[in-house]
């Protein structure tokens, strides 16, 4: 139990350090990317070099990702500051958010179904091949 907590805190500290380093890089080298994205790349490179996710990172990443909504609340509360702006541009927002999302999701679904049709069959082919080889083994 204590071990889990220690790991969780260590993982969290590591994530915070990565974020601080990426913030530093963002300001110091003036990289035109969101600081968090720089952090994602750093962690990804670290994970690739380790070839596995350390338990400490998994255990701290899981609650952070699951409760992301809590950390987004401060940004959403700012809606209240932009009330007039929303009222002024409500038609544009409805079209841009509602209509464009539905249309683009529909087209993406339709196209991906066509594109991935081959992938699915290819998978089944490999499955049947492996099944056949199993049969041969037997």
């Amino acid at each position: 139990m204590i071990k889990t907590w220690v790991r969780c805190i260590a993982g969290f500290a590591a994530l915070c350090c990565i974020y601080l380093i990426s913030l530093f890089c963002f300001y110091y080298f003036e990289i035109p990317l969101p600081p968090a994205l720089i952090g994602i790349f750093m962690l990804l490179i670290f994970l690739l070099s380790q070839r596995k996710v350390p338990t400490a990172i998994t255990q701290s990443a899981r609650p952070l990702l699951a409760h992301m909504a809590l950390f987004l609340l401060p940004a959403l509360i700012s809606v209240l500051l932009y009330r007039d702006f929303f009222v002024q541009h409500y038609i544009a927002l409805i079209i841009a958010v509602l209509l464009s999302t539905i249309v683009s999701l529909g087209i993406t679904l339709w196209l991906s179904q066509r594109i991935l049709l081959g992938v699915k069959t290819a998978d089944q082919v490999t499955n049947s091949i492996t099944n056949e080889s199993k049969d041969i083994d037997q």
Binding site: C16, Y27, L33, A36, I40, A96, T101, S112, Q113
Partner: protein, 243 residues
């Protein structure tokens, strides 16, 4: 060097430059409201219309209204949660790493739906706000509508949009995508779980991913891949095009 540290320290300064008891009350209220709305969301079988974010925002808005608390003041009170968004976003590298083997196996064809969804959604949205002659601030904020909120906020900030406006648009997009997703899947007769997941993740980000997870595990895994890759592609490309 020192100015760089100053810029970073300024972001953290609300933590010690305000009344401690006010800050603790704000944090506890926000946490309570969040847990309550999360509970409600699961109780209503994860109906996207009752997403914890919308319900929590509505509850907090009414609390602030009746208690006559200034929104800016309250926002300063919950700076801690805002700061935790950074490490939480960095943690997205973990699900992305776990999905990399799938990407390696299926190769380029998995990327196609992500690229289609990731470029189609902002283009259509931008065209509609452009034709309606809205301010540039809104046009820039709408470009990030399909990527995960923390990356969307950072990207909007760089390309001249408003991070808070972007956050709201992104969440609403996710809710619309997750609400109409199952219906659109039926309409387009998409039976491939890969296609369903990739489309939901790349157009409707985290909210779409949780919908995909309720369809199946595979669908959720592909949605995660769509969410991570589209977020990275968009956050890389937009600053190059517009910054």
């Amino acid at each position: 060097m020192t100015s760089v540290w100053q810029q970073i320290v300024i972001q953290f300064s609300p933590l010690w430059s305000q009344d401690d008891s006010f800050m603790i009350v704000c944090l506890l209220v926000t946490l309570g409201v969040y847990l309550l709305s999360r509970h409600l969301y699961f109780w209503l079988r994860q109906n996207p219309l009752f997403h914890p974010l919308t319900i929590s925002t509505l509850i907090i808005a009414s609390i602030l209204h009746f208690a006559a608390i200034d929104v800016t003041e309250f926002k300063r009170g919950i700076t801690l949660f805002e700061l935790l968004l950074g490490p939480a976003t960095v943690a997205l590298a973990v699900p992305l790493y776990n999905q990399l083997s799938v990407l390696r196996q299926l190769g380029i064809r998995v990327l196609a739906p992500i690229l289609i969804g990731g470029s189609l959604a902002p283009t259509i949205a931008w065209l509609s706000v452009y034709l309606l002659d809205t301010p540039l601030q809104l046009q820039m904020s709408i470009l990030v509508k399909s990527i995960t909120t923390p990356l969307a906020m950072g990207t909007a900030d760089i390309i001249g949009g408003t991070p808070e406006l972007a956050a709201v648009i992104v969440i609403l997009t996710g809710i619309v995508g997750a609400t109409f997703g199952p219906w659109l899947i039926m309409l387009t007769k998409t039976d491939s779980e890969y296609a369903q997941g990739l489309a939901l993740g790349s157009v409707a980000h985290v909210v779409g991913t949780s919908k995909a997870l309720s369809i199946s595990e595979t669908c959720g895994a592909f949605a995660t891949l769509g969410l991570c890759l589209n977020g990275i592609f968009t956050a890389l490309l937009l600053p190059i095009l517009f910054a």
